[in-house]
């Protein structure tokens, strides 16, 4: 069965520093991968997605993610973090054909930004 692991529950970075959030997935075929961001008390907003093609995908708000099949990873990166990036980030994998579009989510990584 598909699964997603986000090893880091909470990360704190300084404003202006680089960021990498880790995501590992388990899936038998080529995965469909997503990163979402959630501000407190809000819904989830799609940052970026990977379906096929170039393994480095660009998203909104200056985020990017790299798909590495050999490592079963889809890590999210940003070169310079802004205070407004403080939020919770979720990695997700498509549950596959027949799943009617359901996504399997990781448990999230909470990002705090120090001034």
């Amino acid at each position: 069965a598909q699964s997603v692991t986000q090893p880091d529950i909470h990360i704190t970075v300084s404003e202006g520093a680089s960021l990498e959030l880790r995501c590992n997935y388990s899936y038998g075929a080529t995965p469909y991968l997503f990163w979402y961001v959630q501000s407190p008390g809000q819904g989830l907003q799609l940052l970026l997605k990977y379906f096929s093609g170039d393994t480095l995908v660009q998203g909104i708000k200056g985020f990017e993610a790299e798909f590495k099949r050999s490592q079963s990873s889809f890590n999210l990166r940003k070169p310079s973090v802004h205070w407004s990036d403080a939020a919770e980030y979720f990695c997700a994998v498509g549950a596959g054909k027949g799943s009617q579009g359901n996504l399997i989510f990781g448990k999230g990584t909470k990002l705090s930004v120090k001034p």
Binding site: I9, G43, S99, Q100, N102, K107
Partner: protein, 115 residues
């Protein structure tokens, strides 16, 4: 453009009382619709999804139910709430792509507290 509305934003209900949460989507037709529950530290749990009017699939046995009386309306209900029903409920929609996966688009959620 497509929008998704979810209400109410917050709700406090006593144990044993009924529940009705509503979600509507605008700007798209025949969407897949989903109800997720988010509990602290546990990520997102899929409760129900629907691929069409009157078609409901349940992922988790519980005292909740869902209905889809119209193409773009999805309702989450309970006849008698339990304390364990407290959580953050998210409605989402997607357009089912040819390969069975596409991004989910979320509403802003409903914070339910059962007292």
């Amino acid at each position: 453009s497509q929008t998704i509305h979810q209400w109410p934003a917050t709700l406090v209900q006593p144990v044993g009382s009924p529940l009705s949460l509503e979600c509507t989507v605008e700007g798209t037709s025949n969407p897949n619709l989903y109800w997720y529950r988010q509990a602290a530290g546990r990520g997102l749990q899929l409760l129900f999804y629907s691929v069409g009017i009157g078609q409901i699939s349940s992922e988790v046995p519980q005292n909740l139910s869902a209905s889809r009386p119209q193409d773009r309306q999805f309702i989450l209900s309970s006849k008698k709430l339990l304390l364990s029903d407290s959580g953050f409920y998210l409605c989402a929609w997607s357009s089912l792509g040819p390969n069975g996966n596409s991004p989910l688009h979320f509403g802003n959620g409903t914070r339910l507290t059962v007292t």
